[in-house]
């Protein structure tokens, strides 16, 4: 059995309490949400926090709801809750596609939206999906809240805009009309992390593309997005040719690294295939065809 180094445990009773605990215990304290990234790292002794501040009891941070023109995800919303949400099913098929291929049911019962974004693993599927959706993240500190665009949230692998004494409380996704979205991932086995994954969000204006969001995981895309491909789509006709061009552009600009999941040329190729496929599916969904 792999065992972590010793640590102290505190259970937060409110967001305010959690923030106090984090401030009090200093930079070696860490919030713990679902624990499905943090605990494995602790067992492998890649992380040795001295204090864990458990967010598990904070009901105020859980749930998916429509708030004005946004859909609000509490940071403690579990993957399984996202997958089961009727609101998500209606407005954000990209998240349904993504959640189906994130880990396995056991992990999805525990892992959270906030934990996924804060982990900032370059392969995290929700980071790519929320980036494609141009979501924003609400960060709370003792001095109040601030809202950061998800595309500014990730500062690099395992690095985010969140300070050690801050918490992510919500993720906000704007609801857009005439919009379709989709996500696709290639994995070596169910529950494996992505070899490469892509998510697409398309807003149509008749036969033209009004706006596009493309998120990429596991392929070294800056801020998890393919901006050049998005740019090529804006104003372009919603045709297979446009999607193929965007796929090729996205593939050109990623910087994947070779590992046992695959060599660089293959991952680049996957970006092209998956971007084209998800754009095609997103367009069909925007038109109400799928």
């Amino acid at each position: 059995m792999q065992v972590p180094a010793s640590f102290a445990y505190e259970r937060a009773s409110s967001v305010r309490d959690a923030l106090d605990l984090l401030r009090r215990h200093g930079p070696d304290a860490r919030p713990i949400a679902g624990g499905h990234s943090l605990l494995p790292m602790m067992k492998l002794r890649l992380a040795e926090p001295t204090v864990l501040v458990d967010l598990g009891g904070l009901a105020e941070l859980a749930g998916v709801a429509i708030e004005g023109t946004n859909i609000r995800f509490g940071a403690m919303t579990r993957h399984a809750d996202v997958l089961a949400s009727p609101v998500v099913a209606e407005h954000l098929p990209i998240l349904v596609d993504a959640e189906r291929v994130i880990a396995d049911p056991l992990v999805r019962n525990r892992g959270t939206v906030g934990g996924s974004l804060c982990q900032a693993d370059p392969s995290e599927d929700l980071s790519a999906a929320f980036s494609a959706l141009r979501a924003s993240v609400v960060i709370s500190g003792t001095n109040g809240d601030r809202v950061v665009a998800v595309r500014d949230f990730h500062r690099g692998p395992y690095e985010t805009a969140v300070a050690h004494d801050e918490l992510v409380t919500d993720v906000l996704v704007p609801i857009r009309p005439r919009t379709g979205s989709a996500y696709a991932k290639v994995e070596r086995r169910a529950g494996d992390w992505a070899v490469a994954a892509a998510g697409a969000v398309l807003t149509l204006d008749g036969d033209r593309i009004a706006d596009a969001g493309i998120g990429l995981a596991a392929v070294g895309a800056t801020h998890f997005v393919a901006v050049e491909a998005e740019e090529s789509l804006r104003g372009a006709p919603a045709t297979p040719a446009s999607f193929t061009t965007a796929g090729a552009l996205a593939a050109e600009h990623v910087r994947p690294v070779a590992d046992q999941r695959g060599p660089v040329d293959y991952k680049r190729h996957l970006v092209e295939v998956l971007v084209t496929r998800t754009l095609t599916r997103a367009a069909a969904r925007a038109r109400g065809e799928a």
Binding site: M1, Q2, V3, A5, S6, L44, R45, D104, V186, R188, R189, A190, G191, D192, W193, V195, A258, D259, Q260, R261, G262, P263, Y266, H269, L270, V273, L274, R277
Partner: protein, 811 residues
Amino acid sequence: MEGVRPPEEWIRAAAETPRGYGAMKRKEDARFVRGRGRYVDDVVLPGMLHGAVLRSPLAHARIVAIDTSAAEAHPRVRAVITGETLAVLGLAWMPTLMQDTQAVLATDKVRFQGQEVAFVVADDHYAARDALDLIDVEYEPLPPTIDARRALEPDAPVVRDDQEGRTDNHVFDWSSGDAAATDAVFAEAAARPDQQVIGADVLYPRVHPAPLETCGAVADMDPVTGKLTLWTTTQAPHAHRTIYAMVAGLPEHKIRVVSPDIGGGFGNKVGIYPGYVCAIVASIVTGVPVKWMEDRSENLMSTSFARDYHMRGEVAVTADGRLRAVRVHVLADHGAFNATAQPTAFPAGFFGVFTGSYDLEAAHCAVTGVYTHKAPGGVAYACSFRITEAVYLIERLVDVVAHDLGMDPAELRRRNLLRPDQFPYRSATGWEYDSGDYPHTLQVALEKAGYDELRREQAELWRRHAAGEDVPLRGIGLSFFTEAVGAGPRRTMDILGLGMADGAELRVHPTGKAVLRVSCQSQGQGHETTFAQVVAAELGISPDDVEVVHGDTDQTPFGLGTYGSRSTPVSGAATAIVARKVRERAKIVAAAMMEAELEDLEWRHGSWAVRGVEGASRTLAEIALAAHSDLELPEGVEGHLDATTVYNPPNLTYPCGAYVCVVDVDPGTGEVHVRRFVAVDDCGVRINPMIVEGQVHGGLADGVGMALMQSIAFDLEGNCLGGSFMDYLLPTALECPSWELGETVTPSPHHPIGAKGVGESATVGSPPAVVNAVIDALSPYGVRHADMPLTPAAVWRAMQGRPLRTDLAIS
């Protein structure tokens, strides 16, 4: 009376229980499904301490210094053992099962990443683990030999410079078959226009058995009696006891090895690991019991791997698809120590059966073993001593031949399979196949799969794909395997001089209930049920009335253990024979009871009866009671019914099977989806068909894993790239189709109940079927071979004509 009535479910279960062979729920599952299994890690003894192993982060380095002072100063640490400590006891090195040596704790150098360097003993597991970080080892890094294909180059760093005078990494050369005769056939085939030579380079990558329970031990050396009790994860408790006695110089009767419930073995638990030895030494040093249980990464990185065979195979074949001869060269990567587990005279295991299921004029193989700076081991993983590699090679070659000749692979196999009238068949490499009806077994599988219809569907999908439609590429793969299991005749097969015969003891209590004691140990195979059924069938009693005792050397007779699918062929045979001895003894008692002549008695399933005399019959229970009573027995006959036996198999048994796999490949991403898998196994007589099918299910899942996702690769620094379940993938239900099983039954003519082993059949037979299916799907792209694991990346690169090398880091 109400109070002593057994629960209703027991009564029902007993009513459903067959009196012998047949599907029957496993007796052992009652405790497993209730969480009442007792594994090594469940053993908790008073005052027990906990050990942890410090491992090398480097593949090759000189140990300059080890400073254990900070670890020793830890308040909960009781002892720190290093190679120096062991050297004083003469235990720094231990012999391997292949007559090599292996470092228990490194003294001079480390030779693979994950090698054992020090052992900490502490009050609890957490403290032991914490203290590992307090040990300061100064390493001088050295360049390692990682690529097996370059291990014999003159400038390759020498792995085993601990051996006097060694200047290279050569371990052994071994060959089998008639080289001259084989070369002659090849020369002729190359020269004639109506024949040709077809070859392929085929890698069976390094994989790992990955049992869910990792390896471990609890050592309890009683300082007063001098008796060592070792609870340990072993597939061969008796062999381990003898080896400990030989290595550590402990008297063998003062060693008791207990192998309690074992959470999967697959060959991983045949060898003796340094951790076990450290636990024993630690118990001797501290005077209290010491537990050591490795974690997942330790298991994957340091314990017995399997395969790692780099093979070149060639076939001499006629234009109409008659296989004439096969010639094979193998480079076998044995890691840093030659610690494979197999009969001693077989350095390449039973690879000699590489002629497979075909009638060849000649065959020859040459195997060269090399050392590399990688974890030691080999053979393990349900492989029947390298038959996995042999079957994979020949079945891949047959498909390559079919591809090159443009022939249907089913037809090509049909033309070359051994015919029933050829049995017993002596193969070109000297193996005597006992029985089989191969064409029939193949036919049953093809019909079950609907082979012709599958080919039609495939042609249609290929046509649509060529027309630019978005459809998957369908592939159909076959394999026909023959196994040689049940090692083995002790004339030719031993492990470190211990012949591979198994004992059995059967005790029948006065009330007619029986206790069978066998030497082999179950790691999930269901022995407590199967062997009870064998006794039940022989004695005409219920399997519920037979208790099977195993896994404790103080309680059971000697024997070599459970691996190589040998339990039913060897211990199962011993069981049938010892039961027959009891039955014969019962006959004498029955004759005395009924005052009849022996020759007038006949066995009527469960009773001895006097032929032709109404009512003159005694059940086994009645006879058992009489055998323990004051009944007057004939001169020279002892009382009681108990018997013992030792079974020395006259030959191996040769199970076979025909498998058909159907896959879809996404031509855009290279992802493989296994749509169907038909497995028709012939393992002779099936004692408990449900258990047989369970064994096959597991092996098929293993095969999908090896074919599509598993390998332990290394980067050129020697870092293990498969050291966790994030990197080393086990297949899940989602990768496994609903298995479609079938059977043919050709009993083994020399086995007392006609049974052949089946534990490894599916692991042996399924990888080539899956790979053949994937390669078949890619044939529109001109692909004729690609190495396992066929991950999406490997498939795509094969389609590009630039196949990946899967044993090294992907770059």
